[in-house]
Symmetry: C2
Amino acid sequence: MKATVFIKPGKVEVQNLDKPVIEKETDAIIRVVRACVCGSDLWWYRGISEHESGSAVGHEAIGVVETVGSAVDTIKPGDFVVVPFTHGCGNCAACLAGFDGDCLNRDSHSVGYQAEYLRYDNANWGLVKIPGQPSDYSEEMLNSLLTLSDVMATGYHAAATAEVKSGDTVVVMGDGAVGLCGVIAAKLRGATRIIAMSRHEDRQKLALEFGATDIVAERGDEAVAKVLELTDGGVDAVLECVGNEQSVETALQVGRPGAIVGRVGIPQKAEMNTNQLFRRNIGLRGGIAAVTTYDKATLLDAVLNGEINPGKVFTQSFALDDIQAAYAAMDERKAIKSLVVVADK
Amino acid sequence: MKATVFIKPGKVEVQNLDKPVIEKETDAIIRVVRACVCGSDLWWYRGISEHESGSAVGHEAIGVVETVGSAVDTIKPGDFVVVPFTHGCGNCAACLAGFDGDCLNRDSHSVGYQAEYLRYDNANWGLVKIPGQPSDYSEEMLNSLLTLSDVMATGYHAAATAEVKSGDTVVVMGDGAVGLCGVIAAKLRGATRIIAMSRHEDRQKLALEFGATDIVAERGDEAVAKVLELTDGGVDAVLECVGNEQSVETALQVGRPGAIVGRVGIPQKAEMNTNQLFRRNIGLRGGIAAVTTYDKATLLDAVLNGEINPGKVFTQSFALDDIQAAYAAMDERKAIKSLVVVADK
């Protein structure tokens, strides 16, 4: 089968690999219909983080179940599913608490989704069943369903851990696909004022379409001053969807006392002066999204009933054979997020 | 009037100072009935933090209002009140969000409560009216009312920011008066399993009386291992009531994914590796307690109806003239917390 393989920084290619098979009784094999490129893939694509040459890549997909292991009884061959990058078992302390991204029983990394087939463990609870078949949906709806494998759930995690509630004023740091999904999530949870930090016109436009009420293009101290001026003392919640040092520092300063910063940007800098949090009762939460939890509880319904349209983050589309171009478009900021059409719907 | 003055590390004394007067229209002058010594007073008493020699000290009291400024209309002379160490205005973004310990309109530090009289600003909203007069209450009840000026509210803040909810399993780090009040708060919020970290028999006993279900005497890695063994994956919430590096490190490791650490121990070390939080979705919240908010919403009623008895943290009592002995008893760990009887009830 065709699968995307990492060669070296700046280079991925489609190779012919063995089709995956059931290895454990909790596995499922999925025939991929749509996949995409994640902002986090750019870390190793750009050579910023280490990655093993020759490894299969990608961790976002929707597709149709082909076979299942003997312990899988909630999902059956032929089911159309969201394939989360997370692998929640549904039964451990983390999953039961609604943090399936940190499932204590997961035993495989999420890799190889930019391919014709993939193997998914903890299929019984982790996969999210979509009604009907891919052919029942428009291209736009398939795009939105695809975002439920990672980016939309990750944006939602920022809002959920920042504890955004009805009537809140929030700041969203980051205008990438995750930040834009954070805007959607903040609105979905009832925020009435959503300040998007963005300095790119195309992304500002999409942020406004998704529900942002204000755009702040400033950065650093100027951004903090602007938000405090706009809000009379700071916002109720902050979604940190970047992870670099400046963004995190800004995030910690724009909340009113007691505000929580929900982080989903992979932190660039580990060491932090946490006394600045204590002095103003600023909370810090976040981490890996609880994809299956959010999809099943909220997001799948919100996509299916048209309340949210996160698929608009895909501004360019590529065939699997053109995977290099899909990465390059994101790397060069020509695409907000690159869709990969793996098979006909 | 008699007032406690800091002389130098290890030495406080009662001096004759001018009685305070109304300085601002939002002030009240309070005749103090009971005061006490705080664990945080020991920082400068022990010379660990700087403190100006000759300054009046103490920040916990109950008493009777003597005079009020012209803008004070919710409190009148003769009212019996809890005098919080915080000074919430009730109207700013912090107070409205329930974080009056970080009031944006406070303009004086909380000092000079270990005295016959004190001046309190933001009296209109900040003070907490107690029904009746001091003479209507038993000594035990006065002790519990006194804890509402700081220690009980601070313990409650740890539980509130750790988001302890009904049915939770929690760990309380610290067996000082704040930690013991944290045990009370966790139980009040419905925690069903409360693991108290304590290695002192008298404090273990009080923790159990307050609602702790388990005692862990180990520290550091051994404490983490013990809690994980007791709880199958970690607790739902952690109350950090110490602030030293080892306690904070332990606190960050005993929660299940998604757990929140509510901190009220003044942090000894500012720099922290926050990636350990991100990797397990551990939240970090806390800071200065919202004393007036908690007292008015929950704690005053809970004390008055006998549901909680935090006054038991006072294990020794002193006259104001014996203030040096009151400090020494806490410094030498002979008292869990020292009560100071300033005037007859």
